[in-house]
C-alpha cells in the first residue's frame, strides 16, 4: 500500500506523444480509474507506471522511492493484462505461484503453496488449481490473473481493461467482486478502461484522458455534475451531454435526463424553456430516449436527446412541437473555442 506520484510524464512513440505531460497523485489505498477513448494514452500511462515503457521525461515515484529508472520487477507492482497473459504451459497453481518463484521472494515451497492457496481462495478458484488456462472460461481466467497479481502482495495493482473480455452479464458481477477484493486488500489500484459505466461504478476517483493529456480528475459524481470541458461533458453519460451554441463565444450544455417536459420539472424552479419536435423514441425499458433537433442561435438544427425515466409516463406525440425545459442550475456553459467550462457568472 503506497501512494503513487507522477510528475510531467511524457512518453513518445516516434513523433506521436502517447502521454503528453501527465501530473497525477494517487492516494494510498485508492481505487483510481483512468478513463478515455481508445488511443488516448491511458494504457501507455499504465505501462509507464509498471515500467514496461520508459518515459522520455518526467518522474514516477511509488511510496517514497523514485522508480523512474527501475525495471518492473523492482517497483513492487503487479498487473492484470487485458488478455490476462496467463502462461499456457503452466497449471493455474503454477501461474499464481509464478511471481513467488522470482529471486528470493519466497524460497520455502510449503509457504509458497500456502500463499497460492490463499490467493486462489480469495477469488474462489481453489478447486481449479490443477487446470490449465485453456480449460478455463473467461471469468475464471480473469480470476486467475487477479490471484497471480495479488499473491506477491504488491504495493500497487495495475489493471488494464480486465473486464473487457467478459460478456455483459458477467461484467456487472465481476465489477462488484473486483471492488470487493480491492476494499478487502486495501491495495492502491489503478484501473484503465474506456467504459464509463465501469469508471463511474468502480472509481474512488476518475481521471479522464484525451490525446495523452489529463482532462479532469475527481470523484465520479463531481466529474459527471461539473465537467471541466466539452470533451468530458460529452464523453461521460450515455448519451453524453447535449450542447447548444448560444453565441459565437459560448455554448451551453445540459444532460439528457434534465431536458424534461415542463410538467416534470421541479415545481417552482427557474427554468429555460425549449420547444422542439421529437422525431424518434427509443424505449429502453428503464427509461425512454427522445431524439429531436433544437435550433442554435444561428437557426441551425442540432441533434438533441432527452431521457425520461420510466415513471414519467406522459405520451410524447411525434413530429409535434412540445414544450420542454431545463432547470437553470442544470445548465452548463462552455467556451466555444477552447471547450473549457465557464463559470455561470461569466456566462450570464
Amino acid at each position: 500500500m503506497s501512494e503513487v506520484n507522477l510528475k510531467g510524464v511524457v512518453k513518445r512513440f516516434g513523433d506521436v506523444q502517447a502521454v503528453a505531460g501527465v501530473d497525477l497523485h494517487i492516494n494510498s489505498g485508492e481505487f483510481l480509474v483512468v478513463l478515455g477513448p481508445s488511443g488516448c494514452g491511458k494504457t501507455t500511462l499504465m505501462r509507464t507506471i509498471a515500467g514496461l515503457e520508459k518515459p522520455e521525461e518526467g518522474q514516477i515515484s511509488i511510496g517514497a522511492r523514485d522508480v523512474t529508472a527501475l525495471p518492473p520487477r523492482k517497483r513492487g507492482i503487479a498487473m492484470v493484462f487485458q488478455s490476462y497473459a496467463l502462461y499456457p504451459h503452466m497449471s493455474v497453481a503454477g501461474n499464481i505461484g509464478f511471481p513467488l518463484k522470482a529471486q528470493g521472494r519466497c524460497p520455502d515451497r510449503a509457504e509458497r503453496e500456502q500463499r497460492v492457496y490463499q490467493a486462489a481462495q480469495m477469488v474462489s478458484i481453489e478447486h481449479l488449481l490443477d487446470r490449465r488456462p485453456r480449460q478455463l472460461s473467461g471469468g475464471e481466467r480473469q480470476r486467475v490473473a487477479i490471484a497471480r497479481a495479488i499473491v506477491s502482495q504488491p504495493e500497487v495493482l495495475l489493471l488494464d481493461e480486465p473486464l473487457s473480455n467478459l460478456d455483459a452479464k458477467l461484467r456487472a458481477y465481476a465489477r462488484d467482486e473486483l471492488k470487493g477484493f480491492q476494499r478487502k486488500l486495501g491495495i492502491t489500484t489503478v484501473f484503465v478502461t474506456h467504459d464509463q459505466i465501469e469508471a463511474m461504478g468502480l472509481g474512488d476517483r476518475i481521471v479522464v484522458m484525451r490525446d495523452g493529456l489529463v482532462q479532469q480528475v475527481g470523484p465520479p459524481q463531481a466529474i459527471y455534475d461539473r465537467p471541466q470541458n466539452t470533451f468530458v461533458a460529452t464523453f461521460l453519460g450515455s448519451p453524453g451531454m447535449n450542447l447548444q451554441l448560444v453565441s459565437d463565444q459560448v455554448q451551453r450544455g445540459f444532460r439528457p435526463e434534465h431536458l424534461l417536459p415542463l410538467g416534470e420539472l421541479p415545481p417552482g424552479a427557474a427554468h429555460e424553456p425549449f420547444s422542439w419536435r421529437v422525431t424518434r423514441v427509443e424505449n429502453l425499458g428503464s427509461d425512454r430516449l427522445l431524439y429531436g433537433h433544437l435550433a442554435d442561435f444561428r437557426g441551425e438544427m442540432q441533434l438533441t436527446v432527452s431521457r425520461l425515466p420510466s415513471n414519467v409516463t406522459i405520451e410524447i406525440p411525434l413530429d409535434t412541437v412540445c414544450e420542454f425545459g431545463v432547470a437553470h442550475d442544470q445548465l452548463h456553459f462552455f467556451d466555444v473555442a477552447s471547450g473549457e467550462r465557464l463559470e455561470e457568472g461569466v456566462a450570464a
Binding site: A50, G51, L52, P71, P72, R73, I77, A78, M79, F81, S83, A85, Y87, P88, H89, F98, P99, A102, Q103, R105, R148, S152
Partner: protein
Amino acid sequence: MATLTATPTPAGGPRLLRVLRGTLYTTAVLFFCLLAASPFLVMGVVTFQTDQDLYRRGASPFDYEDMPTLEHLDNLFNDTRYLSFVRNSTVTGIAVVVVTLVLSLPAAWALARLTGRWGERAGMLMFIVYLVPPTLLFIPLFRIIVQLGLRDNLLSLILVYPSISVPFSTWLLMGFFKSIPPELEEAALVDGFTRYEAFWRVVLPLARPGIISVVVFTFTLTLHEFIYSLVFISASEVRTLSTGVPTELIRGDVFFWQPLLASALLVAIPVGLVYNLFLDRLVQGFTLGAVKG
C-alpha cells in the same frame, strides 16, 4: 409384428456405406504405408541374405532361399570402421545442434522482438544466406579450414555445418517467437523476473515445438551432409557416416550390398523413431515457420 417388418431399418443403408468407406480407407492407408516402408523392408531382408541368394536371377528380394546369415553384420562391425563413423556422426551432430541452438535462439528472439521492421529485413537476409548452396562454398571454405589446421578434424565440420543450420533455424524460430504474445514476457517482467529469466522460463517452454524441429533438422543435416564431409576429412578414422560408409563399402564398382544396406538401416531406424515421436510438433513447427515471419 406386421408393422415392425414393414418398416425398413433407416440406418441399414448408411451403415453399410460407412463400413465400406472405412474398409476402403484402411486398405488405402495400409497400401501406402507398405509402399513407404518397402525400401526398408528390402534393406532388412537383404542384410541377412547370402551372396548367392542376393544375386540369384528371378529370386524375390522379400524372401530367403538359402539360410539367413549374420556374416555381413559381423563384417560391418568388425572389418570396417562403422562404429567409429557412427560415433563421429553422433559427436558432430550433437555439437552442431548445441552450437545451432546457442546461436539461433537469441538471434531469432531478438529479430522477432527487439528490432521491429529491421528484424524482418535482417531475417530475410539470413534466409538468403541459407539459399547459397554448399557446392559453391566448399572450395573457399576448404582453404579456411586448411589455414586453421582443422583438416581431418571433426571440428572443421562442427564449425562449418552451422553455416547451413543457423540461418534456417533462426528463420524457423523467428516464426515461433512471433507467435508468442509479448504480453506473456511482460507479465513475467512484472511478476518479478529479469528479461533473461522471462525468456528462459516463459518463452523457451512455449517455443518447444520449434526447438524440437531445429534439433531434428540440424541433426539429420549432419547425418546426410556429404560435400563438406568428403572435402574436409580424408582420414578414414575421422570420417562420418555419410562419407565413411560409401568409401569403405563401395570398392571401385563393387557394391557390398548387405553391409551397405545394414549400415543405412541401423541409422535410419532411430532417426525414424524420433521423427515419429515428435511428428505432430514437427509439422506444427515447419508450417508455423513457413506461414509466420
